[in-house]
């Protein structure tokens, strides 16, 4: 470990994992180099249409993160870049980067698309990587509409100029910004960083190697990722599901699962996400076209995550998706129609043949080839499947110190697990480089803010955007029009408002003409509003005295065929913007000091890991446990499914937690009350020595989930019927040991309408225990009675090993569960084998029940105390199931452990590290900004009807000493729900006040002022 600690980090990979890690680190005081192989960040998530289990739009969720990364002052995005080598030690690394030329200057490119339109290739000709080969692109292209950085790129492999040297280069001439630069060359440079996070992602399995399905031969056989592009509105067919052979809509679509996965010829593991993504694609396809009849052919339906079971139920019941448990051995193309013929066995065992219009192969995840190359260069070990090798009890640490690995690079997983691992890696980096926090980041200094007085003096800047806007809208006329609007003292045209010289010019105009409001009419605020706000702040104006009017995406781009009407619309929009500007008020932003300590509620595995992570980051942590000792739920477990010694882990954690100077442990203690808000919580603890009040800045809820005690199958009536945990605590031999010649394990015990969810860990536990029993006594006969075998990811290897060692797996239907009886003191288990369609009777020495887990009943109390929501099953509801799995919607409160959802020990450790990392971001800030676009309650008008309090998703509303509603600015996220719903119109949202919004609407319907 080096004494030098650079306060900067290299994050390799610009997918959702890399983005999350980059944001976490940048927000907590580290400078991040985000190194992306391709021309834009976004990764595989950008190629999805929707995400399971909520079927939210993927780009809608991802795009704000892309924008945030793109404009974060502490993140530098390096595209077309790859890592050459890594030297040095943790804290002091030298990372060498090779950056390929884009041939476009991204500081000049405005993504207008003229270079693409003017390319000598009239039609796009080359398979588009983003559209997975379905769509086509030209040699010069923009990766996708929401790409960050939003700029064109030239592909030298297909560009005529590079291939032959002879091209008229229309693109060069067409660009009005002189942004194309064919003289760019490759750069190799070295950066100093303190740590490295690798998030290179995965590659989809190659469907061609499973040749019997005809991918690449038969036109109407597609892969899941390709189908996703067909469903996407930004895809090659604009979201229309069509058959490639004739462009017609398909009626019957077959999904074939496990293509390339669970297959000893290719990947033996389970790719963990395909059952769910096929379910999602089937539902979404049906939503696009009600005629579509999807059928999913599968082996086991692995719906093990939070909300997964629900989606599958809806697919079956609401959307009529057909699930057929039969693996398909071959797809045959019918020559005349190009339809596909599939043969399968139905539930009754009969062989059937069915014709489909389209077949989608649910391909799995392979380790990223580029990632493996990276591993080789950096000296990182890979596991037997080719993914980054990690320890189950340290899931984001690679085999090289200071280099962390996350996401699909460590194994197949979905987006929430990836985001969790990314935050966990960021937490580990924060701990490693804690003392270097803030040393490489820059704080900006602004001049004193002038207080605006008198009447509004509005400056309007109407952008040409080259010819993007000016080519359709008569921008000169719009500027002339603006001059005559009330309140406007300056209006002009600018060729590119976003250019450096114009920004300088704007500041000069603000000073000269003493402007106190600024309106920019140009492109989407998504892109550049923050830039302009920053600019006027640099000129001494409050940054909220700014309004942006979109006359590009919402005008010139969509009305390019009607220039006169587009010009009129632009005038309307500017008039509306100016009207609002007249009403704009400066908004103030205060700094609130935070208490740099954390409260962790729950002293199980997750609580201990979270506390340690926070402590390693240098923060005081109060670890509160209501039981007498920490880690109680780990007792009796000997090994994780991967084989790690759990008791040794428990001992180590206990030692570390009890001896760390920054951790205070409270056992036999509960939380009596919590008040305050993010940065400033005040909590009363109730312990054996009385009550104590502590101040802290964040809360982490870390309660666990517990094995449920069953009430069926003779449990409690016969000592030979045990739960899986109880089995582990049984002595193996000698006194008290029971014969286990014949052992029957029953899965999914206790699952009913009231508790329908899959507990995720039980199949893995059963497999691990079965294999352990066979190790000790190879002659014992083990039967596992199951509904679906949930051995996702690398657990699939355990399933295969169990079968190889002679464990007998019997599948039973949900409607016909097994029956356990005692006959002449012999336990007998009868079950209908769903495959044989026959009853099987087993004489058992022991019956072992997998009962699933239930959340800690204490969660109800915590939910009330913290004002955070629980779902129908008693698990806490996170801020967003995909992208914010360890945050609560209320700022400053985080969650992990079984209270969020069941997980394996390895998964829980990552979740706890992630929650601690996210909490550390808050604590690292020392001060929080409160104010700006927040809502305020007019105390005169408030009647304390409690509407806003109940509606606020973030718990920002409280009843103050006067008995009236008040909004905690620090917690307010500016969503506006309270303002919209207040019956007394007592609430206003800053920057979107009623007067401001109404003025825009009134202007729109007023008579036009003609020029």
């Amino acid at each position: 470990m080096s004494a030098i600690k650079h306060g900067s980090v290299a994050v390799v990979g610009g997918g959702i994992g890399g983005i999350q890690a980059a944001l976490d680190l940048a927000d907590s005081g580290f400078y991040v180099y985000l190194i992306e192989e391709g021309p834009a960040i976004g990764g595989r998530m950008a190629q999805l249409d929707k995400t399971f289990p909520t079927n939210d739009c993927a780009m809608c969720m991802l795009s704000p993160k892309l924008v945030e990364v793109g404009r974060h002052p502490n993140v530098q995005i390096l595209t077309l870049a790859s890592v050459e080598s890594l030297d040095g030690q943790p804290g002091n690394f030298q990372i060498t980067i090779r950056q390929r030329p884009r041939y476009v200057d991204i500081t000049r490119c405005i993504a207008c698309g003229r270079c693409i339109a003017s390319c000598v290739y009239q039609e796009p000709k080359f398979p588009s990587e983003f559209d997975v080969g379905l769509g086509k692109r030209k040699p010069v292209y923009i990766p996708f509409p929401q790409a960050v950085p939003l700029a064109a790129v030239v592909d030298p492999q297909t560009c005529i100029f590079f291939k032959s040297g002879r091209c008229p280069q229309n693109c060069l001439k067409a660009c009005e910004r002189q942004a194309l630069d064919f003289t760019q060359t490759e750069r190799i440079f070295t950066l100093e960083v303190g740590a490295v996070v690798l998030a290179p992602g995965f590659d989809p399995s190659d469907a061609r190697v499973v040749g019997e399905y005809g991918f690449g031969r038969y036109a109407n056989v597609l892969t899941g990722p390709q189908f996703e592009r067909l469903l996407s509105a930004s895809g090659p067919t604009g979201g229309k599901v069509v058959r490639p052979s004739n462009g017609q809509a398909p009626k019957k679509i077959a999904f074939i699962q496990c293509v390339g996965s669970r297959d000893l010829r290719h990947q033996s593991y389970c790719s963990a996400v395909c059952c769910m993504y096929a379910t999602k694609e089937a539902i979404v396809a049906k939503e696009h076209d009600h005629q579509i009849e999807p059928t999913i052919f599968y082996i086991d339906l692995r719906a093990y995550g939070k909300g997964f079971e629900n989606l599958v139920k809806r697919a079956k019941e609401e959307h009529g998706v057909r699930y057929i448990r039969s693996m398909v051995s071959q797809v045959t193309e019918i020559p005349e129609t190009k339809n596909l013929l599939i043969r399968y066995r139905d539930e009754s065992g009969a062989l059937r043949e069915e014709e489909f219009d389209l077949v989608v192969l649910a391909v799995g995840m392979r380790p990223s080839a580029k990632g493996q190359e990276l591993a080789r260069k950096l000296g990182i070990e890979l596991n037997e499947h080719g993914f980054a090798k990690t320890s189950p009890i340290n899931p984001v640490l690679s085999t090289r110190a200071g280099v962390f690995v996350t996401g699909a690079f460590t194994g197949p997983k979905d987006i929430p697990e990836t985001v969790i691992q990314a935050s966990a890696a960021a937490a580990a980096v924060q701990a490693l480089l804690a003392q270097a926090r803030g040393t490489r980041t820059q704080a900006k200094h602004y001049p004193e803010e002038a207080v605006p007085d008198g009447a509004p003096r509005i400056g309007v800047f109407v952008c040409h955007c080259g010819s993007n806007i000016a080519g359709v809208v008569d921008v000169k006329a719009v500027a002339e029009y603006a001059k005559k609007l009330p309140g406007v003292v300056h209006a002009e045209n600018v060729l590119y408002t976003c250019s450096q010289d114009n920004l300088k010019h704007m500041k000069e105009v603000i000073r000269e003409k003493k402007l106190n409001r600024v309106v920019v009419a140009s492109c989407t605020p998504r892109n550049l509003a923050a830039l302009f706000q920053d600019t006027i702040r640099e000129a001494g104006l409050n940054k909220f005295l700014f309004e942006m009017v979109n006359i590009r995406e919402q005008c010139s781009w969509v009305h390019s065929d009607q220039p006169e009407r587009a010009t009129e619309k632009a005038k309307d929009l500017v008039r509306m913007g100016v009207a609002k500007a007249r009403q704009l008020k400066p908004l103030s932003v205060q700094s609130v000091k935070i208490a740099p300590a954390a409260l962790v509620i729950g002293g199980g595995l997750s609580g201990m890991v979270a506390a340690l992570t926070l402590a390693e980051n240098g923060f005081e942590t109060h670890l509160v446990e209501r039981r007498a000792e920490l880690g109680a739920e780990l007792q009796g477990i000997s090994r994780t499914p991967e084989g790690e010694d759990v008791q040794r882990l428990r001992t180590r954690l206990l030692d570390a937690v009890h001896t760390h100077p920054k951790i205070r442990v409270y056992t036999n203690t509960t939380v009596r009350e919590i008040s305050g808000f993010v940065g400033n919580f005040s909590t009363v603890l109730d312990g054996p020595d009385g009550q104590e009040r502590i101040q802290h800045g964040v809360v982490i809820v870390a309660t666990e989930a517990y094995e449920q005690k069953p009430s069926a199958y003779l449990y409690g009536e016969d000592p030979r019927v045990l739960t899986q945990r109880e089995l582990l605590r049984q002595p193996l031999a000698g006194e008290g040991a029971q014969s286990r010649r014949s052992l029957v394990m029953i899965q999914c015990v206790g699952r009913d309408e009231k508790r329908p969810y899959c507990s995720r860990i039980c199949c893995g536990e059963a497999l691990k225990n079965a294999l352990a029993l066979l190790e000790q006594d190879p002659s014992c006969r083990i039967y596992v009675l199951y509904r679906e075998m949930i051995s996702y990811g690398f657990l699939e290897d355990l399933y295969r090993q169990a079968r190889e060692r002679g464990v007998i797996f019997i599948r039973y239907d949900e409607q016909r569960p097994p029956v356990v009886q005692r006959v002449n003191d012999q336990l007998s288990v009868t079950v209908r084998d769903a495959r044989l369609r026959q009853e099987v009777s087993i004489q058992a020495d022991l019956v072992v029940l997998s009962t699933g887990v239930v959340p800690d009943p204490y969660n109800e109390e915590l939910s009330r105390l913290l004002k955070v929501p629980l779902d129908a099953h008693g698990f806490f509801v996170e801020a967003h199931i995909k992208l914010r799995p360890v945050d609560f919607a209320s700022s400053g409160i985080f969650l992990c452990g079984g209270s969020h959802a069941p997980g394996t020990i390895s998964e829980l450790i990552a979740k706890a590290q992630a929650a601690a990392g996210r909490a550390a971001i808050v604590l690292a800030k020392k001060e929080l900004e409160a104010g700006g676009i927040v809502a305020t309650v007019d105390q005169e008008k408030c009647t304390a009807c409690l509407t806003c309090l109940r509606e606020c998703p973030f718990g920002a509303v409280f009843i103050n000493a006067h008995g009236l509603a008040e909004i905690e600015a620090v917690k307010c996220q500016g969503c506006g729900i309270c303002a919209a719903d207040c019956p007394a119109k007592a609430i206003q949202l800053g920057q979107f006040e009623d007067a401001q919004e109404l003025s825009m609407i009134e202007e729109l319907f007023r008579e036009r002022v003609s020029v």
Partner: protein, 314 residues
């Protein structure tokens, strides 16, 4: 010079295959001589009864070839697969010792075993150059049968599920190979002897698929496959039969062989090699054939259209 292992059928029921192989090899300057003292490979019978017998029978032939120091070329898919499997088994020293004792001779399985398709494939350029127009316009369905490229645990000489060696040979010979879905389906093999109904169903389905895909003729590299597909049509007395030729017969025709030299008169179903009018919807493969790494769908190998050059959009 290579040693040709004919197996039982190529000198008897599939003599046209044996004859045409020799004709084509001579024509192309490939020197082959029959393996002396060769004996039966065991085919399905041996491995259904006794594992060591199933190794010993082909191993004997491998021993002969090894002692002569020559490579083998094999045409029959069953013989080819048995020889390959035996060779793999002999890599295990205990197996090798045991089988050597059975045969009473030292064994060394290290012999290069070539499939006839590989040998012809090496002559692709020459076939392309010297072919006549005899096959022009003929649409050919290439049928590999289930075994040639899909021997379990043995590396195949071509893509297992979608082999294209024959298609390329057919193309080189001046005919048009067609895309069709049954090229590696099973013809029923020995069921045509022991349970006719099964083989009849399986073979006739294959022929039907070829017909629907627009084939004028079927071509195959396995004698049992040829027999079954031919016999099935003859049994069912189908009008407008799709003739089933051996690959070497087809290639031989292109290289100037006569019907007599290539024994084209020995087929069961009627032989009519005139191309049918394109009334069904055939799907001829574009040339070049699909490569891995190209887009999706059947129509691959599209070249970008020539650029406009000169006055572009300004």
């Amino acid at each position: 010079m290579m040693r040709f292992y004919p197996g039982c059928t190529l000198s008897s029921s599939a003599r046209p295959y044996g004859r045409s192989i020799f004709w084509v090899c001579e024509r192309l300057g490939i020197e082959i001589k029959e393996l002396p003292d060769w004996t039966c490979c065991g085919a399905t019978s041996a491995h259904a009864l006794n594992r060591d017998l199933a190794y010993a029978l082909p191993a004997r032939n491998l021993a002969i070839a090894h002692e002569l120091g020559d490579d083998l070329v094999v045409a029959c898919s069953a013989c080819y697969s048995r020889l390959k499997i035996a060779q793999r088994a002999l890599e295990n020293p205990q197996t090798r010792e045991r089988v050597a004792r059975v045969l009473g001779r030292p064994l060394d399985g290290r012999v290069q075993i070539n499939n006839i398709l590989e040998v012809l494939g090496a002559q692709m350029a020459r076939i392309q150059k010297e072919k006549s127009k005899a096959l022009e316009g003929l649409k050919v369905a290439c049928y590999y049968g289930c075994l040639a490229t899909r021997i379990p645990r043995i590396i195949s000489f071509d893509d297992r599920e979608n082999p294209t060696m024959m298609e390329r040979l057919v193309s080189a010979a001046g005919a048009t190979p067609i895309e069709w879905p049954a090229k590696t389906s099973c013809c029923g093999a020995s069921f045509s002897v022991i349970h006719e109904a099964i083989a009849l169903k399986m073979s006739s389905q294959i022929v039907e698929m070829a017909r629907r895909a627009g084939a004028d003729v079927l071509v195959t590299s396995c004698p049992f496959c040829q027999y079954n597909l031919d016999w099935a049509q003859w049994q069912l007395k189908q009008s407008h039969a799709v003739p089933v030729l051996f690959i070497t017969q087809l290639v031989g025709l292109a290289l100037g062989g006569s019907e007599r030299e290539l024994m084209l008169g020995a087929h069961l179903a009627d032989l009519d090699l005139t191309p049918r009018p394109p009334s069904q919807a055939p799907s001829p493969l574009c040339s070049p054939l699909p490569q891995r790494g190209e887009g999706m769908g059947v129509r691959v190998g599209e070249r970008p259209s020539p650029c406009r050059g000169g006055a572009g959009e300004g």
